[in-house]
Symmetry: C2
Subunit: 411 residues, 2 copies
């Protein structure tokens, strides 16, 4: 197939990532931390929990005292007290002694297990009978069993899920250091593009990319700023880029899939301060007419005007750059999960480029079938019907019906 321009291998494209600067950090309160990327390694100062904690309602005992206990051969212990929630036990227990304890309560010294109350009978006010042997540390979370002092529990570069927020709460981290969220500027270009409130005349369509790309950038952890629709005019585009340069951390310009308008994007970017076109065309289908440039330290993308192409380039390429700027550890320790599924039909592909095929997942007895969505790549409805993408790498000529693929779910 003839090529209008040479394309840049994806490895080269991704290698450019480290040319850009990761965002600065800021202190944020824990309730705002959900989904944010932490900029510090978190290690507890002391063991957690810092006391032996009951996980059942029952009786704190020295487990060894119960060894051999059975219905036929019960063990009798002296009840020396009741441990109130949130209080330290008033005394230690000896091997023949026990204290009543509730879930979450602190075990007294001398105890290393909790007998569940259903295995206990009260003989009198100070004597209980136990009919089951207890393994040491049963029904207890021992001091330090959840987290050890000094051990890194959450590494810098982690996106905080609810469980990380909970861990930070456990450690008393009312405030954490997080990376600032990158500002993502979005510009739609094209003489044929109208604002969504306008009624398109013949040959005109409404601006879609501002909305799809804004939503994707938001989902990727960016803070979006839209710069509207710019006609196919290098001077106007340059002015919009200039404004964005001062206000955001990355700029996405979509539109200009035709050769003439692509030239306008190149012209506008090249005229920015300290500008460099790094990539002009990538071996991705859909998505070949993609530009990566910089002005100073700011990455600027020229994305295809076709809605679906722009979305797929965002998903597979741009998102990773946003995550890198946002401080996420992108070294591959947490590779994205691809849902294994069996292909429902043959797929052709052109070697030398990576193809992304929109796909629906259909549950079946063996897991999932991956059903490629038919229809031209420019149709946004193919994205509506799909759950994600199948990747056909550049060395593969196609995939056979029934072969196993990994479906990349939309985020």
């Amino acid at each position: 197939m003839p090529e209008f321009f040479q394309v840049t291998p994806l490895e080269t494209l991704f290698a450019y990532m480290t040319r850009f600067a990761v965002m600065d950090t800021e202190k944020i309160p824990l309730p705002s931390a959900n989904g944010r990327i932490i900029a510090e390694n978190v290690a507890p100062a002391g063991d957690y929990p810092d006391f032996n904690r009951a996980t059942m309602d029952g009786y704190a005992v020295k487990a060894e005292a119960t060894f051999g206990a059975s219905e036929a051969n019960p063990v009798y212990l002296t009840l020396t007290g009741n441990i109130a929630m949130g209080d330290a036990p008033t005394a230690a227990i000896g091997p023949e002694e026990t204290m009543a304890i509730s879930t979450g309560g602190m075990l007294p010294k001398g105890a290393n297990g909790v007998v569940m109350r259903e295995y206990v009978t009260h003989i009198d006010d100070t004597t209980i009978e136990i009919v089951r042997s207890l393994a040491p540390w049963a029904n207890v979370i021992a001091a330090g069993e959840d987290m050890k002092a000094g051990e890194t529990i959450i590494a810098a570069g982690t996106r905080l899920r609810p469980q990380e927020s909970g861990t930070l709460a456990a450690l008393g981290r009312k405030q954490i250091t997080a990376y600032k969220q990158p500002g993502i500027g979005i510009i739609s270009t094209g003489d044929e593009i109208l604002p969504i409130e306008a009624e398109p005349g013949p040959g005109q369509i409404r601006d879609i990319n501002t909305y799809t790309l804004s939503a994707m950038a938001e989902n990727g952890g960016g803070i979006v700023r839209s710069y509207g629709i710019i006609p196919d005019d290098a001077e106007q585009l340059k002015a919009a880029c200039h404004q964005a340069l001062a206000e955001v951390d990355m700029l996405l310009i979509s539109g200009g899939s035709s050769v003439g308008t692509r030239d306008i994007t190149i012209e506008a970017i090249s005229a920015l301060p300290d500008a460099e076109i790094l990539v002009h065309g990538i071996p991705l289908s859909p998505g070949k007419p993609t530009i990566l440039a910089r002005s100073g330290a700011m990455p600027i993308w020229g994305l295809p005007g076709q809605v679906t192409s722009a979305m797929i380039v965002f998903d597979r390429v741009v998102r990773r750059f946003i995550e890198y700027l946002a401080g996420l550890d992108v070294t591959g320790k947490n590779p994205e999960i691809r849902v294994p599924a069996r292909l429902t039909r043959n797929l052709n592909s052109t070697p030398g480029r990576t193809d992304y095929i929109r796909t629906r997942l259909i549950p079946n007895d063996n897991g999932y079938a991956a059903e490629p969505i038919l229809g031209k790549s420019g149709l946004i409805q193919t994205m509506i019907k799909a759950d994600g993408l199948i990747e056909i790498d550049m060395h593969t000529e196609g995939l056979e019906k029934g072969s196993q693929v990994g479906v990349i779910l939309f985020k």
Copy 2:
């Protein structure tokens, strides 16, 4: 195993869902619609696009005129014009005629395909030579090919992804009707629970559940309101519930895993106006001591105090109620995706209850291995290390190493 209380089957629990009212709707601007649940069926008034649109740079032709064209036997057409972006063509073309067109341009009447410019040679100012045969409708999105007038494209009850936002933009929907987001009140209870800024004394721990549950409720589409930590006192808990009743749409009370404190939760809820305890104990592990109640039309949950149990009950049970209130279509048209994986070890389970096992996904040549995370269920670090959960249903006694499971990813 002895039971303190009878448990309610999960089908019965989920059947209670429809007793509660779905949220009211509101008009929201499209840029705020990402992730929201739409409350209207969306169908385009007219076909989309409403003109035949080029998907390549090239020449608009009547495809039939090129049939049989080859290097040896070229076809010659008369170039009658150039179609500007965003404009309607000034005239139709005849079978022997063509017009230059750019990607996104509107085809003239008479044209049903676009010959890519690389297959065209200019012979003179008004004549082009074509050396390839073109299939009708090649390199064109025909009017109505993406969406047909009147066809429901987005159904009420759909959570809007970027592609749905883009579709709404294409249709000029500057504003949409969405369900309001449910307000979720969160209360932590327990005499042993301290605010995170406090330094716990012996037997005390910091409030974790407020942070984990808030983050999960937020991720589930709720708007969170925290009512702080309430000690084990029915009067104080009742007062907090009263306040929440006036301000939120669902209330989560965590804590009180011990029998005594659970009684306090029951007492406080029962004293609310038009109160009813619907469920007291569910066949879930972890998570058995779960309460579902109502006061008037407001659902109230009593969740286990153990961090991990509360998270798992939220994930498997509470989230679905939030989604229902939030207007999501929960009829199962879009079942959650579970990643097929092979179990790395045997797992035991008790029939009669559904077990959820924290699990890490490890990529391998065949897809994924599912590695259960060892460690007591009360340890929050098991949630940190896990990617999701394996479900062992109530009719299964356990799973064998190597068997296929579906891992439910954390959201």
